[in-house]
């Protein structure tokens, strides 16, 4: 067992974890942060994506001990029903989810994508979320949601191209 100190969604935790415990399991099982989910065992699906010191990581590829001293943000830390993050709001408005299983990871990855590229084209969004699999939506509405969130977060009213083609 190793002692770690982590801030998760704004609260501080001191815990003992086994060295082999993955961050995703620590979050889910020890902290009850079940908004972050597991979809695969090969780091391919992105369902477990969280932010580690502000950057998107697949939490199934990070050991909990590696998060020692770090700031972790999960889907539960970015917005609540009454106060949604613009990305959450866009997923809702543009129907960027169906079963919703991929959604927390998809939202976390998309927020990170906009940090690097605040105004992505449709192709850039598609490449940017390539590491996150969704089996339900065919991605089109996810792409639109990311672009809408981008224009909202940039304060720009210009509708991205994909939106124009859709209505």
């Amino acid at each position: 067992m190793t002692a770690i100190n982590v801030r998760v969604d704004g609260a501080s935790y001191s815990d003992d974890v086994e060295p082999r415990t993955l961050l995703v399991h620590y979050l889910r099982e020890q902290l009850g942060k079940v908004g972050t989910v597991v979809g695969c065992d090969t780091s391919n699906c992105g369902a477990c994506t969280v932010h580690l010191d502000g950057e998107a990581v697949k939490s199934c590829t990070v050991f909990a001990v590696q998060a020692d001293g770090c700031e972790v943000t999960t889907i539960e830390g970015i917005g609540t029903d009454g106060r949604l993050h613009p990305m959450q709001k866009a997923f809702h408005e543009l129907h960027g989810l169906q079963c919703g299983y991929c959604t927390p990871g998809m939202i976390m990855a998309s927020i990170d994508l906009l940090r690097d590229n605040p105004n992505p084209s449709e192709d850039e969004v598609r490449e940017g979320i390539e590491g996150n699999l969704c089996r339900c939506t065919g991605y089109q509405n996810i792409v639109r949601a990311v672009q809408q969130a981008a224009s909202e977060m940039n304060g720009s009213a210009a509708a991205p191209e994909a939106l124009g083609a859709q209505s």
Binding site: V34, T80, Q98, Y101, R135
Partner: protein, 827 residues
Amino acid sequence: MTLVEEPATQAPEREIGKARRRKEDARLITGRTTWTDNLVLPGMLHLAIVRSPVAHAKITGIDVSAAQQAPGVLAVFTGRDFAEEQGSIPCAWPVTPDMVNPGHPSVAVEEVNHVGEAVAVIVARSKAAAQDAVELVDVDYDLLPPVLDMEEAVGHQPALCHDHVESNESFRFVFDAGEAGTGADTEQAFAEADVVVSRRFVQQRLIPAFMEPRATVVQPQGDNYTMWSSTQVPHILRLMLAMITGTPEHKLRVIAPDVGGGFGGKLQVTPEEVITLLVAKRMGKPVKWTETRSESLMSAHHGRDQIQYIDIASDREGNVKGLRCRILSDMGAYLRLVSPGIPILGAFMYVGIYKFPAYRFDCQGIFTNKTPTDAYRGAGRPEATFAVERIMDELALELGMDPLELRRKNWIKAEEFPFTTAAGLEYDSGDYDAATQQALQLIGFEELREEQRRRRESGDPVQLGIGFSTFTEMCGLAPSRVLGSLAYGAGGWEHASIRMLPTGKVEVVTGSTPHGQGHETAWSQLVADELGVPFEDVEVLHGDTSIASRGLDTYGSRSLVVGGAAVVNAAQKVVAKARTVAAHLLEANPDDLEFSGGSFSVRGTPGTGISIQELALATFAAHNFPEGVEPSLDADATFDPVNFSYPHGTHICATEVDTETGMVKIRKYACVDDVGKIVNPLIVEGQVHGGLAQGIGQALYEEAVYDADGNLTTGTFVDYLVPSAADLPHFDTGNTVHEAPGNPIGAKGVGEAGAIASTPAVVNSVLDAVRHLGVSDIRMPLTPERVWRAIHQGGDGADRATAVTTAQGVDAAATPLAGDETPGGAL
């Protein structure tokens, strides 16, 4: 979204037709969800399953002693420990009276029949401890030859998949339109035809690959058991578990909480659900099982996996005369819930939207030492649609006709509905021409043809192709009497109840159990319109057998068409009862009351009435109530459809094929679907997109591959290619609306449309791009390597050695068409 027919006179405040944002989203986008794996109960134990690493073997011994002593492990069970009570995983669809079912133990007892089959179960205090101990179980296997190729499996002197059954054939199902009286004699039609085109198509094995891995938790409370499971079918699951494990049905409650995708893959009674229940009984403690993705890909059921020999007969002018299908359908090692029913459902769809005078379908269900197959998005109908839409293109080529012209010549005209096909189904409504016209416009057909011509003439290394798929399917599964005639074990009705609460809020209970389809939103829209109450005042409850007491769950696009219809009927009963109470309170004759905007008023005196929400409180208090009326404002209804519903559509795909690398890129994709009345356009569009992704996945990316020993070589998401956002194009979608006459909503069902129609559209498109280079077929998925091989080496691009073995394995006697077929050969 373009509607050809505007819905009839509807007041603007109607909910039906509105693109309502989903109620479900609030919990899903904030991570406040109830996935089964989230559940933690006091004292909960964890399971891990020891799975067979070999495809076919006798189990000669299992040593569990090391595992039993591992830290945290409380018990280890083998198949023998459960032999008495585990029953057999049920198959509810004996498609022929003599169908052979070898039985399917939850945990193997004497023999394993596919890689991934459960052979032992570890029970431990933590999941990690359980998984660690898996390695410590020592199983002795006496290897047997695996049966892997369907054609060899029913060829001469095959090895047996199960030694206690006489052959690898489970059933042979024949539908002959001539004999059934629904069409002309097929042999005669072929004998008299000017042209016969024959093809062999391979529907590769696919994996549903729902994103939420399966999970099950069972909590014992005395002799009562509550099961949470990531299932599409809690009602069917409860019934079947009761029947096979002897747990009395009324002592068993099944809950499907939020479920992360299904696509048919969770339409099951799984070995793992049985195991979890049995272990919870033994241990008297809550028990959880959650699978890894690798376990899921290996042991949750697979889909498709058929070989199709298709013959089409026609005259020189392109009037089709007959269709003959000989299908080999891989059941895998065992029959699961509806495994044999999948190709049989398809049997009725091979004629597509065309007026074939004669039709014969002949299908063998075959055992192999592979993971069982069962329902996967479209279940039988994608396979059928693929075959007819591909062979129409081949016939067009043979006749020198335009593929769309050939289709137009043979499809059912709008004025010919209702039309009974040679397969015996009565198609009720539609306009194939209207959908096609709109799709041609959406994709910009003329410009694409022009570009194709330019590229071809200039010998561009990147060629352009345009492929069509015009399709229909049978949804709204199904009239109970039809299911009965097909020997399916249950009916096809659905149940709903509506309860008005004292405050005027409404609870809707539906037997249909969603996993991403948005029932909570769509059902609220239906009820808001029927009762005249605000959308926000409706709550939809589902997925718990103690709340939704009756139901037949969600699959086959039946939810809105059957389940939604039950909701509407229940709402109408509530209104009828409310009318009686309102008449009493208003001292009027019920027939003199008008009901509009949620209020009853005496005709001619609007504004003086009483709202249905006020009546809810009045019926709760019951102070002043009509004689003989029960004080409640609720109703139950069950809807049993009288016919299937028949969504249809035209899908057009334009692909760019790089002839030097074999890379296929979808340039444009347009589709126009007629799903009848649209309750929520947002949800309809989303369902089409999702289906397209899966259908395109089959055409270009996905295949479950086994090696020569029967190991699944595509056992992770590294090898099993679920398309990502970067792999898929933008979709242009549209709708025509011809309401279904068979249900009170007029809806036809949409969940499978994209998955059914897109696969042949993509493949036809790629072939259209490279036909002039001498390519006549390419085996799915159309990987760059296969496309390159087909262009540069001929054939269908599939591995040559496999193709040869497969062709030799055909039993000439069992395959009447054997002489005619040249697998993948030229016309």
